[in-house]
Point group: C2
Chain length 412, copies 2
């Protein structure tokens, strides 16, 4: 048997070819799901698989796989992959690197002649970013996608059906893409970190402990519009002051008491909105993320208590409208430990962290042991400037390969 | 000589008649300057003066007066009045009550057969509220209105010229309305308070010590748009957080250290404006008012220092764009003391306060001894709900009359 290792040059070659598809000329790519450039990227992947002599598989949700079948009787399937679609004018690493690293890992197993007791599938999931339906491919495969979401998608029914038609997909096909969880040995994913923690820590690999939960609220403070020249400060009911006090206090408390969580006040509108009129109302959009259910609840309670306190303090009425609520998803302990062992074998520094963004791993974790690693990336997220060094990509792909083999070998 | 006193019933009758002109049916009036309803109110005032047998005077700026001439050789003129125009859908007391109280005071002097060493003029100034040009009439009379303001007014040249034409006024006429300050003995004004201080203090009369100065800035904080799920709080450059911290801190400092001043953050816009994106920029509109030059400077310095501190603290860039800058205007000490003596004579409670809004008194103070009183009013400002009790109106008109006589008698 040949040495089991990924081929950095082959990985780089594939990555450069793929990055040219839908290139925006500034280092980024524009490949929204099932648009022309995404379909071209899918075509390239299919041709690559064929040229490399691996089996190709496509399911009813358009998920693409390179398949390396095991000779073991009734082997289960270990999936490894990510997605080839991008946000509009996004970066070339997000998703694409995960598909290619998975594909390279599967090729490395094949090239080494390594016989594993699981089928391997390097998979490209459809529409992770949600141009049509968020996590369409991975949730279809996991069986957690509702028929209603296809009938009333956030992109609009006509857009969805038009794109599906162009790609030769149907609602029935998507809903039929579910696989029996008993056939799945697990799911592994490599992704760039979409934040600065690994770079700050000087770590090569981030082992994700959970995909954070997301809660959001639309908050409205109602006060009174007064003449700002003639109304003393202590006689006002200034909705803007209440909103500002909430922003300041909530950020300070999260920073101090919730170090594994984040909060963001992304929108704020004051009305009527004039230099000389005390704000009558303040509409505030707040989102928070936490790595487990207890912290989600604690964070939500803190936030709403604090909002009520500010309302009382400034004589305001408070209206709370819940928006989204997505539960945190822990990554499988066995997958985390396989990644740890791989890092130790490869002498790579690592740290545990949470994923602040949603990923296909989150969808897969509901049906099989799933986990993911991050590699350091600079230049922000969902941006043409996002960048992972060649060495970081190679270290990540190597870790993915080693962990894949470990999990495969202990799968029954 | 008959007793010198105002006639409450006559004042009320005039007020009710005037309030019907441009009535919005909800207690308010709609009389923007030189619009049909304002012209109708002016016509009513002219007819009222004629019916009462007083002399009528109109100058080139459309200022209307009821004139009671003195027999004294080379007497100067003591002006007393306010304005008949309103903001769009405003209240029926703002301005109008001041004109009618002044007119009633002049009638009372005439009816009492009181001979004073000054000519008295109960004046209705044109466009105090600035539908066309802010304080047009009083500034024209004071000679502080620039020709340029007529050529490039904030309402647009075409609108101004159209309205002037309808009212039979011209640019040259307006600029020619200036009176030689040597001919002016002073200016007195009665106005509703446009805030809650008199009501809170339980005082019948507010003696205005100064018309506050107004400064305003457009402030922009620039940070960085990051993914709100993946970027830890301490790695962000959150423009919204900087703006909120400024709002909180500036309000607290003004409340604690600048009790005679006010500040207002009336507009705030966060961009790009999404639940899951850390605000890259925050555009903030701030206005502040102070009763004298020293406080204006101190307040401005405090505000800009504080904005820079928040920018430094949150890693933001700060852009400061000055907007308006209006100097504070002190009211004449001799006019204030005449109002004090009048209150004492009438056994009315009073307190000194600043005017947080601009008034014709501010324009007149640059050329003659000028001052004003407030009477308590509820229901806000520039609102159909604004309301002053009948007793408060009578107390105010009586105070105006007594102060007018005191000032007239000591004028040489």
């Amino acid at each position: 048997m040949k040495t089991l290792r990924i081929d950095p040059d082959r990985l780089r070659r594939d990555f450069d070819q793929l990055s040219a598809i839908g290139s925006t000329g500034d280092g980024g790519v524009h490949r929204p799901a099932l648009g022309d450039d995404h379909l071209a990227a899918r075509h390239w992947f299919r041709e690559r698989i064929a040229a490399d002599g691996l089996a190709f598989h496509q399911d009813g949700a358009g998920n693409h796989s390179a398949v390396l079948r095991s000779r073991t009787h009734e082997a289960r399937t270990l999936l490894v992959g990510s997605h080839l679609d991008s946000v509009p004018r996004g970066g070339r690493f997000d998703g694409a690197l995960g598909v290619l690293a998975a594909y390279e890992a599967v090729r490395a197993v094949r090239d080494a002649g390594l016989e594993l007791p699981v089928h391997l599938e390097a998979i490209d999931f459809t529409d992770e970013e949600g141009a049509l339906v968020c996590l369409l491919g991975s949730r279809a495969l996991a069986g957690t996608l509702d028929r209603e979401e296809l009938e009333d998608p956030r992109c609009g029914r006509a857009t969805l059906d038009d794109r599906l038609h162009q790609a030769g997909l149907t609602h029935e096909g998507i809903l039929g893409a579910r696989r029996d969880p008993k056939t799945l040995a697990g799911f592994l994913e490599l992704h760039i970190e979409q934040g600065p923690r690994l770079t700050s820590a000087g770590a090569a690999i981030g082992i994700v402990t959970s995909i954070v939960g997301i809660g959001s609220f639309s908050l409205r403070f109602d006060g009174r519009a007064d003449h700002a020249g003639t109304t003393p400060l202590d006689a006002r009911r200034d909705a803007g002051r209440g909103a500002a006090a909430l922003i300041v206090a909530a950020n300070e408390i999260v920073e101090r008491d919730f170090p594994t969580c984040v909060i963001n006040f992304g929108e704020l509108t004051l009305a009527p909105g004039a230099y000389n009129i005390v704000p009558e109302s303040a509409d505030l959009a707040v989102e928070f993320r936490a790595p487990d259910d207890d912290l989600m609840r604690a964070l939500e309670t803190m936030l709403l208590d604090l909002a009520r306190q500010q309302a009382d303090r400034y004589g305001l009425d408070l209206l709370v409208r819940p928006q989204i609520s997505i539960a945190p998803v822990p990554c499988a302990a066995e997958v985390q430990s396989a990644f740890e062992a791989a890092c130790q074998d490869l002498d790579l520094s690592y740290r545990h962290l949470t994923s602040g963004a949603g990923h296909d791993t989150g969808a897969m974790a509901s049906v099989c042991p799933a986990g993911m690693i991050f590699i350091p990336s600079s230049g922000g997220s969902h941006s043409p400037r996002e960048h992972a060094d060649r060495d970081a990509c190679v270290a990540g792909a190597s870790t993915l390969l080693q962990a894949l083999v470990r999990i495969a070998r202990r799968t029954r």
